[in-house]
Amino acid sequence: MKKFKSIIVLGAAALAFAGCYKDNGNYTYKNLSNAFVDTSKFSGQMVIRQNDPYTVTPVFVNGVDPSKLTYEWRLTKVESTPDPFTGKFTDTVLSTKQNLSGNMYFSPGNYMLRLHVFDPANGNVAQVINRPLAVSSFAMQGLMLLHGDATSCDVSIIVNTKVNTLVPTGTDSIQRNVFSITNGKKIEGEARSVNFNNHGSSGADSKVYVFTYPNGGYRTDFGTLKTLSDYNGLFSPAPSSNNFTAYGVSGANEVLINNGGLYYQGQIQPAGFIPFGVQSFLANSVSPGNYVATPYYAMDIDNVTASNAPNAAIFYDQNARRFLAAKNDKTVGTFTGTAPTGGFSLSAPGKWMVYAEQGFSPGRLSPYFSKYWYCVMQDVNFTNPVSPKAGTRRVHIVDLGRLPDPAYPGDNTKNLILTSNQRGIIIDTISNATDIDAAKYFSFGNRGPIMFYATDTKIYVSNNYITSNLYYDISTTYAGNVITCMQIFKSNGHPSDGQILYVALYDGTKSTLLQIPINGITGAMTGEPMKAYTNISGKISAMNYKPF
């Protein structure tokens, strides 16, 4: 045993001496570079449509021999979140070849493409290049158009850098007839509305709704517009008659108006769809106990504060000519209280609603904020049936934001209940504005006081909801066309939010879509060229933004 210990001590001493030995090595040094690929020629942002073929070919720095290098192309998710479909974190080796090519089978979303270039002759010194790569859905991000005739319609999508935040500069096209390409048929019925519902983790369970009359339409997968259920499948049970007029979504709240009845459903599950159930109803103590909802609603409302939380949407009853509140227990609430000075009572305005849209709301001191709902209203001829009276159009402004409660002056912990008549704040008389009675289409800006209205051939703009100016006469440039649809582009946080006016024209066979860049505060044309997208089959009856 002692011998064994002695051997260990000797060995350790030998190693200690050897460690002090001076190294007079004879080495060859060279400057190693890991700049193999010319990154300046590597695309800064890539967009690949799902299932489409793609190729990425790196350009090498002069003097580099690519054949002596090895490669690894990896794809990872931008966010550190699992893939919504597989539940796994994406970090996949796409290829180990010099050039990357294949078909993009990953689900739509934002990824990072990573190229690792190694030099095996020099200790695998590596160059790593990271580039954002967006996998776009087959039905691309852009402005969806619902167009067709009295019996069928289709969805086409305007894809350009104004509305699509991912495509490279210069991209400007129409992705035509996406619905029929995917489903092998057009949508039965006359076009009524096309809507996007952002739902699920990272939008993975989002849907596109296409609504028609009298068939109803479909609920479709957002990526391809493949049909998931027909109109009756949206309900449990199906309504007695299909007469869709409006659909709205805000967070988990969905409302749908069919045949004058409003249906509410809270989509509280992260994935999946809960069908609309019974039509929202008034308490039996309210008279009249029925209502006929117009196709307009406001969902950007103060329903954050506890007292207002049960409210999902405000809408208008054309039958009793009153504003009503759709609540999340499927009941309908009424407005109460006194009207503000100079304003109007929401419980009994007694007017005919022509059009309504939420728009520009002036700022308020925190914690209060305004949410204006602009309602074009008209007096009523009390004949049978009642009808709107000519020459009486006005803009009624309802503020659905968080407002001080007059019962508690100076106490900013209190706020007005949502169903207070105090919210009918302004009436602007636009009845004297040119052609206002003939106006069929309206759109209100969200960045400044802008009201566009259009007859068959003329577009007017008003900045005070009282007077107006002729904005654009389409009969000059597009003789024989009539306007069929008009909308200011709105998408919160989007670079073009409130700064494009889209106008659809129809010549009896085909449609043209005008894209007019506007000053979001005044509505004036910016001077940027107006773009016309032509040869869109049938009449464009509806349009809406598809964010991904």
């Binding site: 449990s236 049970p237 988990a252 709240n253 509410y264 459903q265 809270g266 509280i268 809960i274 069908p275 159930g277 019974v278 039509q279 109803f281 008034l282 308490a283 039996n284 106990g289 939380a309 049960p310 999340n328 227990d329 499927k330 009941t331």
Partner: protein, 258 residues
């Protein structure tokens, strides 16, 4: 000396490891064959329940008879021959009469089986519309089977010609999270309430109370229907049950559930 201890220890450990790998023949269950009853849950057959309650009004398409099922499970091995299960009607606890109100189907545990579903055919008669029939069965020991698990040797069946209150109508007193009907359909249980629910929802039987989406849908449907029924009526003329109690339906679910 120490080295000797180490060597001896290593030898013993090695032997132990080798013997640990020896194949051991384990005796299979050779106890007496026994049998016990189980009534599967209505909506989840993996769940068990104490009794089965059947109401003919929930089954309007039934004209003359229907069949209730329960399981007989064995303890022990399956055998190569059929065996008879001893099933006895406890007449002291039953008012249903065998071969008049009901008939028990096969009582045979087939060869090779560990479980058999036993049918009880119940007869629908016009003359006993208001009565509730009760049947209590018990395992009786015979030459093939002894009694199984204590507490699982009996099965209780109730059926009647009016709506019978499901045992999970009211919230459980021991488990508040257990699904119940009262949360969506209100309380107390009554004939009028039940019929109003079924008629308003266009259903013939009560849904699975654990399916919150369906319960929410039916809840809003019956609230709307009751609201319409009561519209224009004074409180005293509004919908009442057979005991004169005004019927009210709560709102099922929290904000956002609707």
């Amino acid at each position: 000396m120490k080295a000797l201890i180490y060597i001896a220890g290593a030898f013993i450990a090695g032997m132990s490891l080798l013997t640990a790998c020896k194949k051991s023949s384990i005796d299979s269950y050779q106890q007496d064959a026994r049998v016990y009853f189980r009534i599967p849950g209505e909506f989840d057959s993996k769940q068990s329940r104490d009794s089965l309650i059947y109401s003919f009004p929930f089954h309007p398409n039934v004209t003359t008879q229907d069949t209730l099922w329960f399981e007989a499970n064995i303890m022990g091995n399956a055998t190569s021959t059929d065996r008879e299960i001893g099933i006895n009607v406890i007449t002291d606890s039953s008012n249903a009469v065998e071969n008049v109100d009901f008939k028990i189907g096969s009582k045979i545990m087939p060869a090779g089986a560990f479980k058999i579903n036993i049918p009880i055919v119940i007869y629908k008669k016009a003359v006993v519309k208001d009565s509730v029939l009760r049947l209590q069965l018990a395992v009786t020991e015979n030459s093939d089977f002894k009694l199984g698990y204590t507490g699982k040797t009996k099965a209780i069946f109730l059926w009647g010609y009016k709506f019978l209150r499901p045992d999970n109508w009211e919230p459980s007193t021991t488990d508040a999270s257990k699904p119940n009907y009262a949360a969506a359909f209100g309380s107390p249980f009554s004939q009028v309430r039940t019929k109003f629910i079924l008629d308003s929802c266009h259903i013939t039987n009560l849904p699975d109370p654990s399916n919150r989406i369906i319960m929410e849908n039916y809840n809003s449907t019956i609230r709307s229907a009751l609201n319409n029924y009561n519209r224009g009526k004074t409180f005293t003329l509004q919908l009442k049950d057979e005991n004169g109690v005004n019927i009210f339906f709560p709102t099922f679910g929290g904000p956002g559930l609707g």
